[in-house]
C-alpha cells in the first residue's frame, strides 16, 4: 500500500474513536461542560466582587474556552500513550506498519474536533448566561492565531505523549502539576503582561500564553494596553513553536521506541 495512504488511514483510524465517542457517550455533555462552567462562573463572580470592567469577565470566558484545549492536551494527548500501554493497545501500535507519528496526529485531530465542540458549548454559555461581549476586530488574524495556538498546543501534547510514556507513573502527577501553575503562568484569566516581561517571556514557551494574549487583544480592543506583544508577532512565535514541538515529538517518539526495544519494558503495565 502507498505509504502516504497508509499513514492517512492510520490518522483517520485513530481520530475516529475520539469523534464517534462523542455520540456513543453523551454523558460528556454534562461533565465536560457543566464542570468548566462552575469554575468560570466562580472567576466571573470574583471579578464582579472587585467591580472590574466587563472585559475582565470576557477574559475569564476566553480563558475557560482555551482551558478545555489545555486539559485535553494533558489528559488526552500527553497521558494517552501511557494509558494505551495500560490497556495493551500500545504494543499493537508499535507492531503496526505505519509511522507512529500518524497515531499521534490522529489522536490530535480527533481531540481537536471533540474539544472544539466542548469549547463552543462553553463559549455559548459565556455569551448567553454571562452576557460577555466579544468584538472581533480582525477575523482573519483571530482564525490564524487560534489555529496556530492549537497546532503548537497539540504539537506540545505529541511531544509530552512520548516523554510521559518514558516517565511512567510520574506522568500522572506531572499532568496534575501542569494545571494551576500553567493557568497562572499563561495568564488564563488575566493579562499575562501583569506578570512582568521576564515571567511572561519565559511563560511564552507554553503556546497558551501567547495565543491567549493575542486573542484577548483581538476580541477586547479596549484591553490593548494590557497586550504583551503585538498579535502578529505572537502569531509568528506560535507558528515557530508549532514546528519546534512537532519536530521534537518525532525525536522523542523514536527515542521511546528505541528504549523500549533495548530495555523491553515499553509495554509493561504499572511502570
Amino acid at each position: 500500500m502507498n505509504t502516504i495512504l497508509l499513514n492517512l488511514r492510520a490518522i483517520r483510524g485513530r481520530a475516529y474513536p475520539r469523534v464517534i465517542g462523542l455520540m456513543r457517550e453523551p454523558s460528556w455533555i454534562f461533565w465536560e461542560t457543566v464542570l468548566p462552567v462552575l469554575s468560570i462562573a466562580a472567576f466571573i463572580y470574583v471579578y464582579r466582587s472587585l467591580n472590574a470592567p466587563a472585559m475582565y469577565e470576557g477574559f475569564v470566558v476566553l480563558g475557560g474556552v482555551m482551558t478545555t484545549y489545555w486539559l485535553n492536551v494533558l489528559w488526552s494527548m500527553a497521558a494517552q500513550l501511557y494509558w494505551e500501554k495500560e490497556t495493551a493497545n500500545l504494543q499493537l501500535y508499535l507492531a503496526a506498519p505505519m509511522s507512529k507519528m500518524s497515531i499521534l496526529a490522529g489522536m490530535a485531530i480527533g481531540a481537536i474536533v471533540s474539544t472544539t465542540l466542548r469549547a463552543c458549548t462553553i463559549l455559548i454559555i459565556g455569551i448567553f448566561i454571562f452576557h460577555v461581549n466579544f468584538v472581533v476586530t480582525s477575523p482573519l488574524l483571530l482564525i490564524l492565531v487560534f489555529i496556530s495556538t492549537l497546532v503548537a498546543l497539540y504539537g506540545m501534547g505529541m511531544l509530552f505523549a512520548s516523554l510521559f510514556l518514558m516517565w511512567g507513573r510520574e506522568a500522572w502527577y506531572l499532568n496534575n502539576l501542569l494545571q494551576e501553575p500553567v493557568y497562572f503562568l499563561s495568564g488564563q484569566y488575566f493579562p499575562v503582561k501583569a506578570l512582568g516581561a521576564v515571567i511572561a517571556s519565559a511563560a511564552s514557551i507554553i503556546p497558551l500564553t501567547l495565543g491567549l494574549d493575542a486573542m484577548r487583544q483581538i476580541l477586547f480592543p479596549e484591553s490593548a494596553s494590557w497586550g504583551f506583544l503585538s498579535p502578529w508577532i505572537e502569531l509568528l512565535i506560535l507558528v515557530l513553536l508549532g514546528v519546534f514541538f512537532i519536530i521534537c515529538a518525532k525525536y522523542a517518539l523514536d527515542k521511546v521506541e528505541y528504549l523500549g526495544k533495548v530495555k523491553g519494558t515499553l509495554t509493561m503495565r504499572w511502570q
Partner: protein, 270 residues
C-alpha cells in the same frame, strides 16, 4: 489497625512515585499556582497587592485546597482499585469493610492537604495579609470540616461504584459546586438570590465563614456577618451530621446495588 493501614496505603500511593522532597514540592506547587491566579486577578483590577478583598479570597482559597484535593483524590480511588490496580476484589473479600478502607484513605488525604494550606498561609505574609488567628476555633473548624469533606468523599466513592468513568470528574463537580456557591473566593452576598438560598444549605458556606473568622478575625460577607458565631457552628455541626449520614446511606445503597447488578468488579478499560 486496618484504618491505620489504609492511611499508610494512601500515603504510599500518593508519595512513593518519587523522592520525599519532590513529593513535598509537588504537593505545594499546585495550590500555590491556584492562589497566584487569584492574586494576579486581584492585582490587574486593584493595581495593588493588599486589601480586604484579597485577604478574603486568599484565605478562602488556601482552605479550599483541603476540600478540593481530598475530593479529587478520593474520586479516583474506586476507579483505580477496580480497573487500574485491579485490587478491588481482594479488598472486598478482606476482613476490613471497604467503607472503612475508604475512610482511612480519606483521613490520610485530608491530613496531607493540610500541608499546602499551611504553606499558603505563610506565603500570604508576603502579601501583607493581616492574620488574627484564633487557634482553638480553627482547630474546631478543621475537625468539623473533616467530617463533611470525608463524608462527601465517601458519597463520591459510592457513585463511582456504579459508574464506568467520571471518577475524577465527580470529585471535581462537588468541589466546583462548593467553590462557586460557598463564598470561597467572593462573598455569597453577590450571588443571585436563588443561589444564596442554595449556599445557605451547604455546610461549606458556614465552614468558610468560620475559617475567615478564625484566621482573619472577621467575616466581611454582608450575608453571613449577621450570623452569631454560635449559630454558624451549630449550622455547620447539623449540616455535617446530615451530610455524613446521607453519604453513608448512599454508599451503602450503591454498594448493595453494585453487588446486585454484578458490576462491583467490572472492567470498562476506561
Amino acid at each position: 489497625m486496618s484504618l491505620k493501614t489504609s492511611m499508610w496505603l494512601e500515603f504510599q500511593i500518593e508519595s512513593n512515585w518519587t523522592s520525599p522532597f519532590i513529593f513535598a514540592i509537588y504537593n505545594i506547587i499546585k495550590p500555590v499556582g491556584a492562589a497566584l491566579v487569584l492574586v494576579a486577578m486581584f492585582y490587574v483590577v486593584a493595581g495593588k497587592l493588599t486589601g480586604t478583598a484579597l485577604e478574603f479570597m486568599y484565605v478562602g482559597n488556601a482552605f479550599y485546597m483541603i476540600l478540593a484535593q481530598t475530593l479529587f483524590s478520593i474520586g479516583w480511588i474506586v476507579h483505580d482499585d477496580r480497573e487500574h490496580y485491579a485490587t478491588l476484589r481482594y479488598l472486598y473479600i478482606s476482613p476490613t469493610p471497604y467503607f472503612k478502607y475508604l475512610f482511612g484513605r480519606s483521613i490520610a488525604r485530608y491530613v496531607l492537604s493540610l500541608i499546602p494550606m499551611v504553606v499558603l498561609l505563610l506565603l500570604g505574609l508576603t502579601f501583607k495579609i493581616q492574620y488574627r488567628i484564633n487557634l482553638l476555633l480553627l482547630a474546631i473548624v478543621l475537625l468539623l470540616g473533616f467530617f463533611f469533606i470525608v463524608g462527601t468523599a465517601l458519597l463520591i466513592s459510592g457513585i463511582n461504584l456504579l459508574t464506568a468513568r467520571h471518577g475524577g470528574a465527580i470529585g471535581e463537580a462537588f468541589a466546583g459546586i462548593f467553590y462557586l456557591a460557598s463564598g470561597v473566593v467572593f462573598p455569597v452576598s453577590i450571588l443571585p438570590a436563588w443561589a444564596q438560598q442554595i449556599a445557605l444549605t451547604l455546610p461549606t458556606t458556614y465552614w468558610f465563614s468560620l475559617i475567615r473568622i478564625a484566621v482573619l478575625g472577621n467575616e466581611p460577607d454582608a450575608l453571613l456577618s449577621v450570623f452569631p458565631l454560635s449559630n454558624l457552628i451549630l449550622y455547620l455541626v447539623l449540616l455535617s451530621i446530615v451530610y455524613f449520614a446521607a453519604a453513608f446511606l448512599v454508599f451503602k445503597l450503591a454498594d448493595g446495588l453494585a453487588r446486585k447488578l454484578g458490576i462491583l468488579d467490572m472492567s470498562t478499560t476506561y
